[in-house]
Amino acid sequence: MILFWIVIIPFIGAVLSWFSAAKHPLSARWIAIVALGIDLILALSLAKNMMGPPHPQSTASLWAAEISWDWIPQAGLHFHLAIDGLSMVLVLLTLILGIAAVVASWSEIKDRLGFFLFNLLAILSGILGVFLAMDLILFYFCWELMLIPMYFLIAIWGHENRRYAAMKFFIFTQAGSLFLLLAILGLYFLHGHFSGNYSFEYQDLLNTPNQWPYSLLFMLGFLIAFAVKLPIFPFHPWLPDAHTEAPTGGSIILAGLLLKTGAYGMLRFVLPFFPQDVQLMAPLIFVLAAIGIIYGAIMAFAQSDLKKLVAFSSVSHMGFVLLGIFAGNEIALNGALLQIVCHGISTGALFFLVGALQERLHTRDLNSMGGLWPVIPRLSALTLFFALASLGLPGLGNFLAEFLVLLGSYIVTPIITIIASIGLVYAAVYSLRIVQQAFHGKPKGTPMISDLYNREAIILGLLISIILFLGVYPQPVMNLVAPTLQQIRIKPVDATSPLEPAIIVKRDVLVIKDHS
C-alpha cells in the first residue's frame, strides 16, 4: 500500500496546489513542497527497512514492498507496483530533485502558477510510476503520462523557442514509445504462445523463451524507446532544444530524471529480457556510446548558451551510463548506477544555477557574462563546485561513477574505453569554461544583482552533501542495488569465457568492500 501512496501523493499535491494557487500562490508552492516531503519521508522509511541487516539469502522475492491489484485480469493486466534497491535509489533521486525543481521555480514562475505546479508534480508522479511499475502496460502508461505534462511545461513556460522544442521533444519520445508498445505486445504474445499464460507481468515475461529473430526485434523496440530518452547518439536531437527551452524546473526534471528513465528501462528490461541479444548488439552500442561521449563534449564546448552547454554535457555523461550498462559486469553496472544518481544531482544543480543566473541577468549567453564572482560569490562558488563535480573531480560522486564505468568496461572493450576516457579531458575543458567565462575576467557592465537566496542555498547545500557523500562513501547505495545488479548483469555465455574470472579478481582489488 505504501507504494501506491508514494506514487499518488505527488498527484494529490498537484491537484491541491492547482486549486490553491489562484488565491494563495505561496501556499500552493508550500503544498507542493510538503507533498514531496511527505513522499520522501515515506520512501526513506522504506529505504531504512531495506538497509537493515542483510537477511539470509531467502528464496522469497526480491521486492522490499509490493502491491498487485487486478486491473483487467482477462488480458493479464495488473496494477502491480514493487520496489527493490534499484527502484529505491531512483525514487529517492526523483523526490529530492522534485523538491529542487519546485524551489528553482519559486520566483521564476509567476504566471499560471497553479497549472505549472500541477504539471510539475504530475510528471513526478509519472516518473515514480515508471520506477515502480512491474506490469509492462502499467509501465507504459506511466511512461506516457510523464510525457504530456512535460510537454505542457516546455510549451507554456519555456523560453523563446519553446513551441518548436516542445513539439520536437514530444514527437521524438512518442515515436520511441510506440516501438516500446509494439515490443511489449510482441513479448506478451511470444510468452503467451509458449507458456499459455498471457501476462504483462515483469516476472512472467522474464522467463520468455528466447526465439531468435523475434527477441532481437523486440529488444530493438525497447532499445529505441530508451535510446531516445537516454539519449543515445543519433537519437539525441530533441535533447538540447528541450533542455534549453524548458523553464528551470523543467530542465532539472528533464536532465535529472527523464533521461534516467531511459537508463532505468535498459537496466530493468533490456538486460534481463534479452541477455543474448544484448551481447550481440553490444559492440554497436559501445561505438555509439563513445561517439556520444566525445560528440556531446565537443558540442558542449562549442556552445555559448549556458543551458545548451549543460544540455550537451548531459549527452556526453549519458554516454558513460550507456557504456556501463552494456559492459554489463557488476563494476560497470555499479558505475552506471552511480553515474545516474550523481549526474542527476550535479546536472540538476547546474540547471538550477543557470536558471538562477538567468533570472538575475536575463541572459544565458556566456559571452555577455564575466567577472561575476565578486558580485555573487555564493552562486559562483556553488557553480564552481558543481562544474567540478561534472568534470569528475576525485572525491566527488561523479568521479567514482565514471571511474567504475571505465574500469568495468575496460575488461570488455578496451579500445572503446580508452576513447571514452578522452571524454573526461573534454569534460574538464567545457566545465571550467563555464566558471572562467562567467565568473572570472572583466565584469561586463554587470548590474547590481542579488546573490543566492537562502532557500536556494539550502537545497543546493543538500545536493552538495549528497554528491560528497557518494564520492566518499558510496557503499550504502551499492549495497542497496547489489541484489538487483547481481540479477541483471550480463552473464557470460559459457563458463570458459575470460569475462567472469577477470571481474572476480578485479573485485577483490577494488575498494568496494563490504563492512570490512
Binding site: E144, A155, M167, F170, L178, L181, L182, L185
Partner: protein, 470 residues
C-alpha cells in the same frame, strides 16, 4: 411476420414513430423547445427500451430484411446515444436561427434511423434503403441554413454521394444477376466497396471529406463523423462476415487503400489551418487504421474474424465518440451564421475557457492515442492484432503514421496554450448546459473506456459472435 419479430423491430420503429409525431407537431405549431423535447425523449425512450427490454428480443432475424441480433441491437442503441449527443450539442447552435428550426431535428432523427437500418440490414434492399435515408437527410442537413459554405458543401456531397450510390447499385445489380436474390454475397464486391469506401472517405474516394467537413454546420459535421461513418463501418463488417472475399486482388486493394488513406490523411492534415479540415483529414487516416484491421481478416477464418471484428468495433465506437466530442467543442463556439474553425480562433483557449480547453485536449489526446484515453486502447488493440498476425510491415507503417498524426494534434493543443492578442471572435462566457451534458457524456465514456475497456470489450466479443452465426 409474427409478434416476436415485430417486437424485435421496436427499436427502429420508435425512432420512426418519433419522426412521425414531430412532423405534424412542427406543421401545427412551431415550437423549438417542444420539438427538441420530443426528439430527445424519442431517443431516450429508444435507448431505455434497448437497455431494459433488449434481452427479451429473442429472434435473430426479423423478416428477410433485418437482423436483430445482439450486434444490431447494440449499434442501434449506440447510434441512439450518439444522436442524443448530436441533438444536445446542436441546441444552442440552432437556438438563434431565425428560420425554421424543427426540420433540423427531424432530419437528424431521420439520418439516425438510416444509420440504425444500416446496422441491422441483412439484405441489399434494406441496406440501400438505410444508406439512402442517411444520405438524403444529410443533403438536407448540410445545406440546412442556406448560406454560402453550407450550400456549396451540400451540393458537393449530393453529387458525389449520388455517384457513389450509382456504383453501389450497379454492384447490387451484379449480385442479383448472379444469385437471383439480394442476399449478401461476393458478387459485385468491388463496386459495392466503391460505394462503402466513399461513405467512409477512404483514399481515393476521399476528395469530398475536407470540403464537406468544413462547409457543413458544426453539429452536422459531428453527425457525419460519428453516426454516418459508424453505420457504414458496422455494415462493412457485416458484409465481410457474410460475403465471401476469396479473391487475392480484393485483399491487395484493401491494403493499398489502407496505406494510401493513412499517408494521404496524415500528410494533408499537416498542411491545414482549419480545425475542421484537420479533423477531416485525420478521420481519413483513422479509417485507414481501421482498414488495417480489415486487411488482417485475410489470414483468418471465423474465429480470428470474431476477434478482429471486435477490435474493429471497439475502434469504431471510441473513434465516433471522440469525434463527436471534438466537434461538440467546435459547435460550442460556432453559430449558424458563423463557424469558428480557424486554428487562430482557438488561440489562448486555455486561459479563457480552461474547462472546454481541457475537454478538447483530452479528445485530441484520445485521437492521438495517448494512454488513459480510449484512443490508446484502440491503438493498443490494433497493434496487438497486427503482432498477433505478424504483419510487421503494416505495423511499421502504422507507427510512422501515428507519429505524423501527433504533430497536428499537438499543433492544435499548442495553439490553445498560446497567448491570445486581439481576438476577433468573442467567446461565449459559459458553455450551455445541454452541450456540457453531451460533452460530459463523451468525456466520461472516453476516460472510462481508457481505464477499464474490459467491460465493453467483453460485450463486443459477445455480439461479434452473432455476426458469424449464419
Amino acid at each position: 411476420m409474427n409478434t416476436s419479430e415485430l417486437f424485435s423491430l421496436i427499436p427502429l420503429m420508435m425512432v420512426g414513430g418519433g419522426i412521425l409525431i414531430l412532423i405534424p407537431v412542427a406543421a401545427w405549431k412551431r415550437n423549438f423547445q417542444l420539438a427538441f423535447a420530443i426528439s430527445t425523449t424519442t431517443i431516450i425512450f429508444d435507448l431505455a427500451f434497448i437497455f431494459i427490454k433488449g434481452s427479451c428480443i429473442k429472434v435473430d432475424r426479423a423478416s428477410m430484411l433485418f437482423k436483430t441480433d445482439a450486434c444490431a441491437l447494440f449499434f442501434i442503441g449506440f447510434f441512439a446515444f450518439l444522436a442524443l449527443g448530436v441533438l444536445l450539442i446542436s441546441y444552442e447552435y440552432l437556438k438563434n436561427f431565425p428560420g425554421n428550426k424543427e426540420e433540423f431535428l427531424i432530419l437528424i432523427l431521420l439520418g439516425t434511423l438510416g444509420g440504425m437500418v444500416l446496422a441491422a440490414s441483412n439484405h441489399f434492399a434494406s441496406f440501400f434503403l438505410g444508406l439512402e435515408i442517411l444520405s438524403v437527410s444529410l443533403y438536407g442537413l448540410i445545406a440546412y441554413f442556406g448560406r454560402q459554405p453550407h450550400l456549396e458543401a451540400g451540393v458537393k456531397y449530393l453529387i458525389l454521394a449520388s455517384a457513389s450510390s450509382a456504383f453501389l447499385l450497379f454492384g447490387v445489380a451484379l449480385n442479383y444477376a448472379q444469385c437471383g436474390r439480394l442476399i449478401f454475397s461476393g458478387y459485385g464486391l468491388p463496386l459495392i466497396f466503391v460505394g462503402l469506401f466513399f461513405k467512409l472517405a477512404l483514399v481515393p474516394f476521399h476528395l469530398w471529406t475536407a470540403d464537406v467537413y468544413e462547409g457543413a454546420p458544426a453539429p452536422v459535421t459531428a453527425f457525419i463523423a460519428s453516426i454516418s461513418k459508424g453505420a457504414v463501418g458496422v455494415f462493412l463488417l457485416r458484409y465481410i462476415a457474410q460475403g465471401s472475399m476469396n479473391s487475392q486482388l480484393v485483399w491487395i486493394t484493401i491494403a493499398i487503400v489502407a496505406i494510401a488513406s493513412m499517408f494521404v490523411g496524415n500528410a494533408c492534415a499537416l498542411l491545414q489551418n482549419n480545425i475542421k479540415r484537420i479533423l477531416a483529414y485525420s478521420s481519413i487516416a483513422h479509417i485507414g487504421y481501421m482498414m488495417v484491421i480489415i486487411y488482417l481478416f485475410k489470414n483468418y477464418g471465423d474465429v480470428g474474424g470474431i476477434r478482429l471484428s471486435s477490435i474493429m468495433f471497439f475502434y469504431l465506437i471510441i473513434y465516433t465518440l471522440t469525434n463527436l466530442g471534438t466537434f461538440g467543442i467546435i459547435t460550442a463556439y460556432s453559430r449558424w451564421n458563423q463557424e469558428m474553425a480557424s486554428l487562430d480562433d482557438y488561440r489562448g483557449l486555455y486561459w479563457k475557457q480552461p474547462v472546454s480547453a481541457m475537454f478538447f485536449t483530452i479528445f485530441l489526446f484520445s485521437l492521438a492515442g495517448m494512454p488513459l484515453t480510449a484512443g490508446f486502447v484502440g491503438k493498443f488493440l490494433i497493434f496487438s492484432a497486427g503482432i498477433w498476425s505478424q504483419c510487421w510491415w503494416l505495423l511499421l507503417i502504422l507507427v510512422v503514421n501515428s507519429v505524423v498524426g501527433l504533430y497536428y494534434y499537438l499543433r492544435i493543443i499548442l495553439t490553445m496554450s498560446q497567448e491570445a492578442e486581439g481576438r476577433l471572435v468573442p467567446l461565449p462566457v459559459r458553455l450551455p448546459v445541454p452541450l456540457l451534458i453531451s460533452l460530459g457524456l463523451m468525456l466520461s465514456a472516453i476516460l472510462y473506456l481508457g481505464i477499464r475497456p474490459d467491460s465493453l470489450l467483453h460485450w463486443i466479443q459477445y455480439f461479434s459472435q452473432s455476426l458469424y452465426s449464419r
